[in-house]
C-alpha cells in the first residue's frame, strides 16, 4: 500500500493534514480496477469452461469455423472495430484532459458508433447461426452429435410433422370450402322461406335469425380461409418438396439402416442423410464413397429386379391359379420396389445438386442436423460471445449517459474510468477472437 505525504493543506481546508493514507488515485479508479479484477475472474470461469469442453471433446470432433458457418473475416473486422474504438476513447480522454470538450465529444460519438457496429455484426452472425439451426434448444437441440438411428428417426419425425401439418391445413381448407357450400345452399332455402309471403311469421323470424348466424359464420370462415388460401400455393410447393424427402430420404434411410446387412451401407445410409441436410466439409469424401457404394448396390438390386420382372412377365405354359396369384403379388412387390428405387434416385439427384444442403436451401424445413460436438460448440460460443456482448451493451449505455455531458477537464476522471472498462471489453475480445474463430 503506498502512502504518501504532502505538504501544505487539504483542498477542503478543514485541517492541516500531514499524512494522507490511501492510493494517489481517485476512488472511482480504485473501485473500477477492483471491479475489473472481479470481471477477470468471471471471464476466467467462462474461458476455463470453454477450455475444458473444447479440449475435453472427443479428439477431432470440435467443429471448424466452416462447419458452423462462422466467418473468420467477420471476427477480424470486429477485432478491428474494437481496436479502433479503444483508440478513439483513449483519445477522447486525452482531449478531455486537455479541456477540448467538443473534440472529446466527437471522439466519444465515434466510439459509440463503433460499438454499435460491433453489435450489428454480432447480431448478423447470430442471425446466421439461428437460420441454420445452430443453437442449443430444449428439450432436444437441432444439433446431433452423430448420425445414428436416433438422428434418422428425428429427421423422419420432423418431415412427417411438416407433411402432416400441410395435409391438415389442406383438409381444413377443403372442409371450410365445403361448409361454405352447404351454408350457401341453406341460405338459398332460407331466402326462399323469407321471401315467400305465405310463410308463418314465426318461421320467417327463425329463418332470419338463422340467416344472421349463417352470415356471421360465413364471414368467420372467409377470414379463416383467406389465410389458408393465401398459403395454399406455398403449401403445395412445400409438400412437393417434403413428401419425396420423407419417403425417399428419411424413410429409406431408416429402413436401410435397420435392414442392411452390409455395415458400410448401414452406417452410410444415415451419413448420407445427414450430409444431404447439412453438408460438413470434412465428411465430403467419405459420404461420396458411401453414395457410390449405395449406387452400386442400388444398380445391382435394380438389375435383379428388372430381371425378375421380365421373368415374371413372360407367360407361363401351365395355368395354375395359385401360382398365378403369387406371381402377380411378386410382380407388384418388385415393381413397387423399383418405383421406390427410382424415387430414391430422383430425390438424391435433386438433393445432390444443392451446394449447402437442404436446410440452407429450404429454411422452413428446420431438419435436425449432425455436427459432432456441435451442441457444446454452440453452448460455449453463445455463452462467451453473449457475455461479451452484454458487456458491450453496458458500455454503450454508459456512453449514452455521458455523451450529453460537457466533457471537459472536470469529467476526465469519468471518461478515464469509462475508458478502462471499455478497454477491458476489448481485452476480452482479444482472447475470444482467436479462441472462437481461429482455434
Amino acid at each position: 500500500m503506498s502512502e504518501h505525504t504532502h505538504g501544505s493543506h487539504d483542498h477542503h481546508g478543514h485541517i492541516e493534514l500531514e499524512y494522507q493514507p490511501g492510493l494517489p488515485i481517485n476512488n472511482g479508479k480504485v473501485i473500477l480496477w477492483l471491479f475489473l479484477s472481479t470481471e477477470i475472474m468471471f471471464f476466467a470461469g467462462l474461458i476455463g469452461t470453454f477450455i475444458v469442453l473444447r479440449y475435453g471433446a472427443p479428439a477431432g470432433t470440435w467443429p471448424t469455423p466452416h462447419d458452423v458457418h462462422l466467418k473468420e473475416y467477420l471476427g477480424a473486422i470486429n477485432t478491428f472495430i474494437l481496436i479502433c474504438s479503444s483508440v478513439s476513447i483513449v483519445l477522447a480522454f486525452e482531449a478531455a484532459k486537455a479541456n477540448k470538450s467538443s473534440q472529446a465529444r466527437w471522439l466519444m460519438i465515434v466510439t459509440f458508433v463503433l460499438g454499435c457496429f460491433f453489435l450489428g455484426i454480432k447480431m448478423y452472425e447470430y442471425g446466421q447461426k439461428f437460420e441454420h439451426g445452430i443453437y442449443p434448444k430444449k428439450p432436444h437441440s437441432m444439433i446431433y452429435e452423430k448420425a445414428d438411428l436416433n438422428y434418422a428417426s428425428a429427421v423422419r419425425k420432423r418431415l412427417a410433422t411438416i407433411v402432416n401439418d400441410i395435409n391438415a391445413a389442406d383438409a381444413q381448407q377443403a372442409g371450410l370450402a365445403q361448409e361454405k357450400a352447404t351454408l350457401a345452399t341453406e341460405t338459398e332455402t332460407l331466402n326462399g322461406v323469407v321471401e315467400n309471403s305465405s310463410s308463418d311469421p314465426q318461421e320467417v323470424a327463425d329463418a332470419k335469425t338463422r340467416l344472421r348466424e349463417i352470415r356471421q359464420r360465413v364471414s368467420e370462415i372467409e377470414s379463416e380461409e383467406s389465410a389458408l388460401i393465401a398459403g395454399a400455393e406455398e403449401r403445395a410447393k412445400h409438400k412437393e418438396i417434403a413428401e419425396p424427402l420423407l419417403n425417399h430420404l428419411a424413410r429409406w434411410t431408416e429402413v436401410a439402416a435397420a435392414t442392411q446387412t452390409d455395415p458400410n451401407l448401414r452406417v452410410g445410409a444415415i451419413e448420407i442423410l445427414a450430409y444431404q441436410i447439412y453438408p460438413l466439409h470434412r465428411d465430403h469424401d467419405q459420404v461420396h464413397l458411401f453414395l457410390e457404394e449405395e449406387a452400386a448396390a442400388r444398380e445391382a438390386e435394380k438389375r435383379e429386379l428388372t430381371d425378375l420382372v421380365e421373368l415374371l412377365k413372360t407367360p407361363v405354359a401351365e395355368k395354375d391359379d395359385v401360382a398365378e396369384a403369387q406371381r402377380a403379388e411378386q410382380l407388384a412387390a418388385a415393381e413397387a420396389r423399383l418405383a421406390q428405387i427410382a424415387g430414391r434416385e430422383q430425390t438424391l439427384a435433386a438433393v445432390n445438386s444443392l451446394e449447402h444442403g437442404l436446410n440452407d436451401e429450404h429454411h422452413w424445413l428446420m431438419l435436425p442436423i449432425k455436427i459432432p460436438s456441435g451442441n457444446m460448440w454452440a453452448s460455449t460460443y453463445f455463452l462467451l460471445t453473449g457475455f461479451h456482448a452484454i458487456h458491450v451493451i453496458v458500455g454503450l449505455i454508459v456512453f449514452a449517459c455521458i455523451l450529453p455531458l460537457k466533457l471537459d477537464r472536470s469529467r476526465a476522471n469519468m471518461l478515464e474510468n469509462t475508458g478502462l472498462y471499455w478497454h477491458f471489453v476489448d481485452l476480452v475480445w482479444i482472447f475470444l477472437f482467436p479462441m472462437l474463430y481461429l482455434f
Partner: protein, 592 residues
Amino acid sequence: MSGQGEMTVWEKSMSFVSTYVFSRDHKIIGLQFLFSTLLWFLVGGLLALGIRWQLAWPWSNMPVIGPMLFSAEGGQISPEFYTTLFTMHATVMIFFVIIPILAGAFGNYLIPLMIGADDMAFPTLNMLSYWLMWPAFLLIGASFFTAPYGAGGGWTSYPPLSAMVEAAPGSMSAQTLWLLGITFVGFSSMMGSVNYMTTIIQMRAPGMTMFRLPMTIWGMFITAILQAFALPVLTAAGVMQLTDRMFGTGFFIPENLVVNNSVAASGGGQPLLWQHLFWFYSHPAVYIMILPAMGMVSDMIACFARKPLFGYKPMVYSISGIAGLGFIVWGHHMFVSGMNPVLGMTFMVSTMMIALPSAVKTFNWLGTIWGSQIRFTTPMLFSLSFVAMFIIGGLSGIFMAATPVDIFIHDTYFIVAHFHYVLFAGTAMAVFGAIYFWFPKMFGRMMNETLGKIHFFLTFIFLNGTFYTMHILGAVGFPRRLADPYDYPTFAHLQPLNEFMTVCAILMVASQVFFAFNFIYSIFFGPAVGRNPWRCNGLEWTAPSPPGHGNFDFQPIVYRGPYEYGSPEADEDYYPQTEAPPKEAPVVAPAH
C-alpha cells in the same frame, strides 16, 4: 473527511423513506442487513429443526411447527420435502445469514466507523448492494413455496441432478428460482466487496496506516478480496447451470443421459466442471464466513482482557495466508468425486497447510489472555467460546484433509459436525458476541447482561450437545442428507443418539428466546450509555452512540494501533487511538 460540509445539506432534505428505507448511510444499511439476517436466522433455525425432527423420529408428525411450516404435508415430512429442507437450511444460513451478517451488517456498520471515515466510498452503490438482496430474498423465498417442492439439489446444487428438470421432478422451477436468487446474492456481494475494499484502501483517517487497523477491519478487508475474486466464478457457473436448465446447453450434462425414463437434452458436458467452479467460490466462501468473525473476536478479547493483542502482525499475516491458501484448496471437497486422484494429492498438501495460519491465530488468542485481567462480560464469554469451539472445528478439519481418511468420512456427519463447529459454534457465537459488544454503539443502549449470560450458557451447552455427538455419528459412517437412515442395518442403532441431538437442538433454538427478548427490549428500554461503555481504544468508540450522519463530530486523527490496553504511557488502562500523546507533537508515521 471532505464530505461533512455537503452531508448536512442533504441531511436536511431527507424524508423518512430516504432516511430509513432507501438510506445511503452505511449505519442504516448495516442495521437493515442486521435485521434482515436475524429474521432469516430464525427461518434457517426452524428449517434445521425440521431436519432434526425427521432424523430423530422419521415420518412422524411434527407438533406445532410442522403444520405451520409444512401444512401441505400435514405436519409430516416427505422425502422430497426433506431434500428441500436441508437445501434451504444451508442456502438460508450461508447466503442470507452468515455472509450478509458479517460482511453486510457488521462490515457496513463498522468499516467507516473503525477507519474514521464519514461513510463508504460509494454510498449509493452500498445501498444498491442491500436492495439487490431483496430480489434474492424473494426469489429464494418463492422457490421454497413453489409447487410441488422447493429446490432439492442441496446447497451445492450438483448437476446433473440440479441441471436437469427431469432428474428432480419435485424441484421443477424452484431450482431455477434458486439459481436466479444466488445470482442476485452474487451481484450484491460483488458490489459490497469492491466498495469495502475501496473504502478501506482510500478512506482511512489521517494516521490510520494499514497496520493500525483493528483486526475486524483486516478480516473484512480480506473477506472482501475473497468475495470479489471468488464470487464471479460462481456467478459464471450459476449462469451456465441456468442455461442448462432453460435452453438445453448441457455444460454440466454428459451426452444423452437417461434420467427418469426420458432422454435428456443432448449434452457433452462435464458434471465435475461444476464442482470445480462451485468450490472455487465456495471454499473461499467458508473463510468469508469466518475471517470477519475472527477479527471481531480479536477485538473483543483484547478489549475484555485489557491487554494488547498478542502478535498483531502474525495475526494479519495469518488471515492473509488463509485467504491466499483458501484459493488453492477447493479440491478437498472433491477427493472422492472422481477428480483426477493426482490432483487430490496436491490439494491435500495445500489443505494441510491452511490449518497452520488457523493454529497461529488460536495460539495468539491464548497468548492474549495469558497474563491479562479478564472481565467476564457476555461478549467476552461468546468470544472465548468462539476460540474453544474453533479449536474443535479446526482440529476436526485435519481428518478431512487427510485424503485416505476422507474416503471414509466424506459426506458423513463428521463433515456436518466439522462445519457446524466452525460456522455455528464459531461464527454464530462470535456474531452473538459482536451484537452484545457493538449494540451500545448501534442503539445507544446496553443489552441486559444477566439475560445475555443465560443466553450464552444455554446456547453453549446445547450446541455442544447437538454438534459434538455428530462426530460420533460420523465415525460410524452415518451419511448426510438421508431422509431415513435407519433402514440400513449399519446405522439402525443410531436413532437414540439422534433423538438426543434433536432434543438438544430444540432446546438450543428455544434458548434464543432470551436473546430475541433482550435484543428487542434493549433497543427501547436498555440503559442509555455514553460513547465508550466498554472503555475501548477503537475509533468507533469516540463517535457518539449512536453516531449521527457523517459519524464523527470531530476529525479523528490516529496516533497508534487499536490494542494499547494497559499501556504504561497512558493514565488509564486503555489508550484510544485518537488520543494525542502527552506533550509531544503529533507522531506521524514515516512516509515512504
